[in-house]
């Protein structure tokens, strides 16, 4: 196989479950994990005579997304019915949006090894989720759990603009971070709150027309997304190079065997007989509503990154890390506001350095950090005001991480307060000078390196508590002699 002769074309369709309390067209709860069919009301069950009523909170989340990706938010969009029979689809149709989706266009910036790339979005539309078929646990029968039926989804569709599994994963990660950042989706991939379908095709380098694509359904981890695309690229190239033809079809990824398998071909594809849902008037989003949602939007990661660079003087790298996830953003913002008067760069270094390392060592997520932003702020305030040195701060951080405790109490109980009292320091230094006459002579003879020896000895004598600036100053005077 000669992959370098081929260009890969990938488009993603992502279903993000919107974090509303109730369902998109009924008042039933969306909470995960309840007993089967306990969170399905007559509307979700598709009982005779029931009617859907749109959930304003779901629409609002779609608007938030549209604003976050710079999309056009349609003043009028249409709910349509997608008709097909399946036991976990109670009405025999799914309410979705077809011709006029609520979010149109937009784009997302992604980072890959090669640098930055912009992925354009086609659309994002609102729809309801189906229920779940349970094939295990039932002898010769299938169970249906309709708790998930009617859960609000935003289906986010990209243009076919990604050219590698790396780009696809980078996009999926960026999208995942964004929907969590703007708090429209909890991003829980295990529970199915964020899942991707990948459309993959290959074409000879330089060819304008797209190759025939296959759609790989329901990829619920970034690793599966990557593996499935990699497998599919290889499969398609080998197929074509062996003289075969790619057939347009829907495929499923099997993580156990690390391969994709045909689910249904285009010929078996349903004719969904889409038509506007007569139970739902056109969805109207006024400019006032958009403005209201915009006013309640959090600062977007890209905007914040620029602010960190320009206003706080952080490096692009640090600013990027601090805006990569909602957790990092929230932690740093909390740290910033609690650590008044502390240099932002110091804060950034601590979050991206000590804290991040400690999390990695413990295998924890930021939300589970053993040292909260407020506690870390307390520590950094003491560094800032000279109570403790950076070195002591690192030791204290380790203690706080493993044993907990408040910074000021720890400083007192462990006698870690930096010695900023010149009198006390002078006593220590004078003693050192009298103990090391040779080194004093060397220094006075022009061997300035010996200065470091005295600093080291002084730190040792004070258990690192000497204020480094004061130490330097005082030592210079004392060594210079009378």
């Amino acid at each position: 196989m000669t992959q370098k002769n081929w260009e890969v074309v990938i488009g993603l369709e992502t279903h993000a479950q919107l974090s509303t309390l109730s369902k998109i067209f009924s008042g039933a709860s969306t909470a995960f994990g309840a007993e089967p069919n306990t969170q399905a009301c007559p509307v979700d069950l598709g009982f005779p005579g029931v009617l859907p009523v749109p959930n304003r909170a779901a629409v609002e989340r779609a608007i938030r997304f549209g604003l976050a990706v710079g999309a056009h938010i349609a003043p009028v969009s249409i709910f349509a019915r997608k008709n097909y029979f399946y036991p976990d689809l109670p009405k025999g149709y799914q309410i979705s949006q077809m011709e006029l989706p609520v979010v149109q266009g937009g784009s997302l910036r992604i980072q890959t090894k090669a640098g930055e790339k912009v992925v354009n979005l086609t659309r994002a539309h609102l729809e309801e989720d189906a229920g779940k078929s349970l094939h295990e646990d039932f002898q010769g029968q299938s169970g249906i759990d309709l708790n998930r039926a009617g859960t609000p989804l935003l289906e986010i569709v990209t243009e076919p603009e990604m050219r590698s599994s790396e780009e696809a994963v980078a996009y999926a990660r960026a999208l995942h971070a964004l929907v969590r950042w703007i708090e429209i989706c909890d991003g829980n991939m295990q529970e199915g709150s964020f899942r991707c379908d990948a459309n993959v095709s290959v074409r000879p380098l330089g060819q304008k027309e797209f190759g025939t694509r296959c759609e790989i359904k329901n990829l619920n981890s970034f690793r599966f997304l990557e593996r499935a695309i990699e497998f599919e690229i290889k499969r398609q190239i080998e197929l074509i190079e062996d003289g075969g033809k790619v057939v347009q079809e829907t495929r499923l990824y099997d993580p156990d065997r690390d391969e994709t398998r045909s689910m249904r071909s285009k010929e078996d594809a349903h004719d969904y007989r889409y038509f506007p849902d007569p139970d739902l008037p056109p969805l109207c989003v006024s400019t006032e509503w958009i403005a209201e949602v915009a006013a309640g939007m959090p600062e977007l990661p890209e905007v914040r990154k620029v602010r960190y660079e320009t206003e706080l003087g952080l490096s692009a790298y640090d600013a990027g890390l601090l805006t990569a996830t909602r957790e990092a953003g929230e932690y740093f913002e909390a740290l910033q506001s609690a650590a008044k008067g502390v240099d932002a760069k110091l804060c950034a270094n601590w979050v991206n350095g000590e804290l991040s390392a400690a999390l990695n060592r413990a295998g924890l997520e930021l939300t589970d950090a053993k040292v909260s932003a407020t506690k870390l702020a307390g520590l950094l305030v003491r560094v800032g005001d000279g109570t403790i040195s950076g070195k002591i701060a690192k030791e204290l951080f380790e203690i706080m991480w493993s044993e907990g405790g408040e910074v000021d109490a720890l400083i007192e109980s462990r006698g870690l307060r930096q010695i900023s009292d010149t009198g006390a320091l002078e006593v220590v230094l004078k003693e050192l000078i009298s103990k090391h006459p040779t080194q004093v002579e060397e220094y006075r003879g022009g061997k300035e390196k010996v200065f470091g020896f005295f600093v080291g000895q002084a730190m040792k004598a004070t258990q690192g508590k000497a204020n480094p600036a004061q130490l330097n100053e005082l030592l210079k005077i004392l060594l210079a002699g009378d």
């Binding site: 009982f47 005779p48 005579g49 029931v50 009523v53 008709n83 109670p90 009405k91 007989r273 739902l280």
Partner: protein, 493 residues
């Protein structure tokens, strides 16, 4: 007044008798139930009669009347079309599919009526899923016309109309998707109203064609219709197509004079296709309106002849999707024999649905199919818009449109067995109104060879009160609405 006489009275008289304790809700319900039992073998107007359930409701109503003496309708019996879900009542939609379905919740209309203390006498027969113009498509057998037992009562709300006409109930609920209230009202010689689309919530009304379905009422007079409209109208947040408006109650404008109102007479509706007998009755009814001071205006509804083809694209399209939920999985009929999921669907639906329902599901699936959608569904929607435009233009020149309800009187049972299209064509005067979403009613206007003929009055959107006002004036000047079929006039009691 004797109990027998009271049973044939209007709502105000019955309410007054209940208020004066001349009769209890239980006595009243018992008397109607006795009549229903007696008539049922002949008319088959009801799918479900549950004496115990009804008498329980009536007993509660008698208690409620003591507790809330100001509520006028407490204890008034009513028949419910079997399309409205009612908690604890079997709700069949006239179909084998729902032969054993007991609703877990109340439709909005049922809830409104229950709240006011109305007592359900039973569940009225109807064409399966409201598809039909003769009530011959009911799984539970056809309803007979009380004026002539060899004839149909009209449909789809045939049971409701026959029940009111035969004095088995003072009023009944109905639904009208293409004429299903107005046409049976006309053929059974009673009054029936189809409100503006969006005026009455569709919540809990089993859907046939969602963009056309509208709940309404049958009664013995326009006045009763107005009083009932005030009970069932109003915004319901559970129906996204229910419109939130603050209209004055219909009954308030009822007695206003109609002098000076302009009556539009559609020239297309009095030509070919309209039987001479019906034409003569409708024309003389319009003469009566002119005699009451209305001004006659000829109007043009050129697109209305396209209404039937457009309707038979849109309604089946919506129905094909609305009826997908009847799959044998969660409720309703499930076939006893099936090998796999495909057969579960095929057999359950094959056995559960009757031929007319299957025909419309097939038509609807076809017109929505890939490659046909634009030519049929979208084209039909354009025609629908043009029909509405016709009416809008017409209402610039008139206040109310008057015309026939149906081209003939009730036809004999089995007339169109082999040719459903001929029956479809009989809805040419009612269907355009549904496509435009307008309010309309039918009032008794006379007889042709002993069979009732209705006058249809159509109003601009939300002008139910104007229609009822005109219908009431007509009924004040005439007595057609007081005529009862001889064998059901109460004399046989």
């Amino acid at each position: 007044m004797s109990l027998t006489e009271l049973l044939n009275q209007g709502l105000l008289e019955i309410s007054a008798a209940l208020g004066r304790r001349e009769v209890s809700a239980v006595e009243l319900a018992t008397a109607y139930l006795d009549r229903i039992d007696q008539a049922q073998p002949e008319l088959n107007a009801f799918i479900t009669v549950d004496r115990k359930h009804t008498l329980q409701e009536a007993a509660l109503a008698d208690e409620m009347r003591v507790a809330s003496p100001d509520l006028p309708w407490v204890g008034i019996p009513i028949a419910q079309k079997d399309l409205f879900c009612a908690k604890g009542w079997r709700t069949t939609a006239g179909s084998r599919m729902l032969e054993n379905f007991i609703s877990p919740y109340d439709a909005h209309v049922v809830e409104q009526l229950n709240r006011q203390g109305f007592v359900t006498l039973g569940r009225a027969n109807m064409d399966e899923f409201a598809m039909g113009s003769s009530n011959e498509n009911s799984f539970f057998g056809p309803v007979k016309n009380p004026w002539d037992l060899t004839r149909v009562p009209g449909g789809s709300s045939g049971g409701s109309a026959a029940a009111v006409a035969a004095g088995l109930a003072p009023a009944a609920t109905g639904t009208d998707t293409g004429g299903s209230i107005r046409q049976p009202a006309a053929w059974c010689g009673i009054s029936g109203i189809k409100p503006t689309y969006g005026r009455v919530s569709r919540y809990g009304m089993i859907a046939y064609a969602s963009s056309l379905d509208q709940a309404g009422m049958f009664a013995r007079s326009a006045q009763d219709l107005a009083l009932l409209m005030d009970v069932i109208s109003g915004h319901d947040p559970r129906d996204a197509t229910s419109v939130n408006r603050q209209d004055a109650p219909c009954s308030h404008g009822l007695h206003q004079p109609i002098r000076g109102l302009r009556v539009g007479i559609p020239k297309q509706w009095f030509g070919k296709g309209l039987s001479d007998g019906v034409k003569a009755v409708v024309e003389s009814a319009i003469q009566e309106l002119l005699a009451l001071g209305c001004e006659g205006v000829e109007i043009d509804l050129p697109m209305s002849e396209q209404a039937i083809p457009a309707y038979y694209v849109i309604a089946p399209a919506e129905a094909s999707s609305n009826l997908s939920r009847f799959d044998g999985v969660r409720f309703g009929h499930r076939a006893a024999q099936y090998k796999d999921l495909g057969e579960l669907y095929e057999h359950s639906r094959g056995e559960g649905f009757g031929p007319e329902v299957k025909r419309r599901i097939l038509m609807g699936s076809y017109v929505l199919s890939h490659g046909y959608y634009d030519a049929y569904y979208l084209q039909a929607q354009r025609v629908r818009r043009l029909i509405a435009n016709d009416f809008e233009r017409a209402f610039e020149r008139c206040d109310v449109i008057a015309g026939p309800v149906a081209p003939t009187t009730a036809f004999p049972l089995g007339s169109f067995g082999a040719d459903p299209v001929q029956m479809y064509l009989a809805d040419l005067y009612t269907i355009p109104v549904n496509l435009a979403g307008l309010p309309a009613l039918s009032v008794p206007a006379g007889f042709d060879h002993g069979l009732p003929v209705g006058l249809q009055l159509i109003g601009p959107w939300w002008e139910e009160t104007r229609l009822l006002q005109m219908a009431h004036a007509f009924q004040t000047a005439t007595d057609w609405h007081t005529k009862r079929p001889a064998s059901y006039s109460g004399v046989t009691q």
